[in-house]
Amino acid sequence: MNNIDTFDTATLWLALPEIFLLSAIVVVLLLDLFLTKPFKQVTYYLTQLSLLITAILAFNLIGEPKSILFGNAFILDDMASVFKIFMAGSTMVALVYTRHYLTEHKLFRGEYFVLVLLAMLGMMVMVSGYSLLTLYLGLEILSLSLYALIAIARERAGAVEAALKYFVLGAIASGLLLYGMSMIYGISGSINISDIATFSANATLASREMLILNFGLVFLVIGIAFKLGAVPFHMWVPDVYQGAPTSVTMFLSTAPKIAAVAMLIRILVEGMGAMHAYWSDLLMVLALLSIALGSVVALMQTNIKRMLAYSTISHIGFILLGFVTGVISGYGAAVFYVLVYILMSLAAFGMIILFNKQGFEADKISDFKGLSKHSPWFALMMLVIMLSMAGVPPFIGFYAKLFILQQVVSAGFISIAVIVVVFAVISAYYYLQVIKSMYFESSDKAMTTTATMDVKLILSINAVLILMVGIFPDFWIKLALSLF
């Protein structure tokens, strides 16, 4: 009974974004109950407003000195604040598309937005987690909301199947993660990231302690790899991406990736940075397998959502490769890659949602046939997105890949870099295939869009950003590097 922390309310404001978001969730949830049908849109606008305010609150906390509160369970540093802003921003963009999708497919329900906000809260907890317990709880908040979001289209057999698969595999991954955490706790005697860091950095560790640390580490890496969808723990990714409603797929493939990378940074880099030699080998295998499988299997896909799922797997491989290098600039490159990936992924899924109509999902590659004739502007946008994903200069995807490869080469893994480049070239084929069917094939069936102006505008800005940031990448690269 002696080690009770005094609870200091004066530091509470450092967690203001989280506190505000949770209050906003409760308000939106209750308000939605009393809104009659013509006013249902209010829920959407309130959700956007809460996300905006959360982002502003997080922005205000940039530059605060690194502080750890709530009994060493919560950390506020620049990385947490910047990640929170990007997650809120990408969720806001995703919600613009989501509204169009939900109204077209008659899935518009207030609970959808509440669940998105709850997932956002879970991600913020993960990003700011400084003990294994809070990281795990954040992950569970995120995962539970995502399971429900996928199953929200319960009339579709594909969505229910995807939700069930994701749920079962997610539960196994959580179990593995918890098992690894229990091992780390068992040997180091603490669930605190800083305590674990001091323990694992201790040079006089007995070999039995090292063994248990390693044992726990393997389970932690597997758990994180499951959540990221790295090969060989990727089985759920294609099915979930294809089966889930496209708006959920879009959300799933964007902000949660930042949260998963943040968790990786907190646990592996900050908590077990001293054991880098052990976990970098594991990540290397995961990264290479992901890039190889993601690049090759995507060639056979005819469904564009499934193709993007495999493309995600290979992008995750690149991100993991940044952590293999073990230097700060390598971690910075990985963070830069995540942010770039999110920008591209939002645009790519936005493109699919744009052409969604009641009873029609534009999710076949053949649906995009002859798009350049029917709507040349959006065909051009898709061209930009696909070229950027393939890593063609001057688009931003090129710099992300280049930056990672630079770090990999300077860390001395030249053969790895060569293999990765070969697979990147192979993967260019399937991105170009989409461009080919847009520009060089014709179709009588013109895809038209019923989307409102905001969707078109956001999509265009997004695609232009891919080009603009590609031409002036300095700010983003500096931002990513400044986080460590």
């Binding site: 949830l29 509440v114 003990s131 319960r154």
Partner: protein, 203 residues
């Protein structure tokens, strides 16, 4: 071997045995009952660890509420056992290999050499006046207040998700409109129809 160790081994044996029996049980209801036994044994081990409150909670919440609910669900669902068995047999060889490898690796790592009493002394016992619940409460609302709140959020999500996925609008439920019932007038409910009486038959 002192009495505490004997109790520990008995409980552990039943814990492992009932867990195995649960996995291999052919009947889902039996599997649930084996799980109940497993929970009881785990609760016993927790009492040995002086975590009385957790042990009682495990029995009250999991055995008393969750598992009973499970039994009801299993009895209500008509689970086709034969298809389940067929899938199970198909995956058995691969699953067995993976399980054996994991067991072998875990026994190599988690043996007495790593967690034995020589390297990790057993924690000191508390006196009779020690209250597990007091300590738990003190910690829960001070040091662990943040995780505690987050756990509450998890529960909130569970509620929202469950209702979202199960609730169907209009289709399944009928509700009373009380103001309509109160304001009802006789002419809304009773319709007077004048029917021409048939001519009387002459006798």
């Amino acid at each position: 071997m002192n009495s505490e160790q004997t109790i520990f081994y008995i409980l552990s044996f039943w814990f492992i045995a009932s867990s195995l029996a649960m996995i291999f049980a052919r009947n889902a209801a039996k599997a649930v009952l084996f799980l109940v036994l497993g929970f009881f044994s785990a609760a016993g081990i927790w009492i040995l660890l002086e975590a009385e409150f957790l042990a009682i909670t495990l029995i009250l919440v999991y055995v008393g509420a969750v598992m009973v609910l499970f039994l009801f669900v299993i009895k209500m669902l008509n689970i086709d056992k034969s298809t389940l068995r067929a899938k199970f047999a198909g995956y058995l060889p691969l699953g067995l290999i993976v399980a054996l490898i994991i067991i072998a690796e875990m026994t190599l790592v988690l043996g007495g050499a790593q967690f034995g009493l020589e390297v990790m002394p057993s924690p000191a016992k508390h006196g009779a006046d020690y209250s597990n619940i007091t300590v738990l409460a003190m910690q829960l609302y001070t040091t662990y207040v943040y995780p505690f709140e987050l756990a509450a959020v998890v529960l909130l999500i569970a509620i929202i998700a469950a209702i979202t996925l199960v609730h169907k609008k209009e289709a399944t439920y009928k509700k009373q409109n009380i103001s309509e019932q109160v304001n009802v007038r006789a002419k809304d409910r009773v319709r007077l129809v004048s029917i021409a009486s048939p001519p009387k038959e002459k006798k």
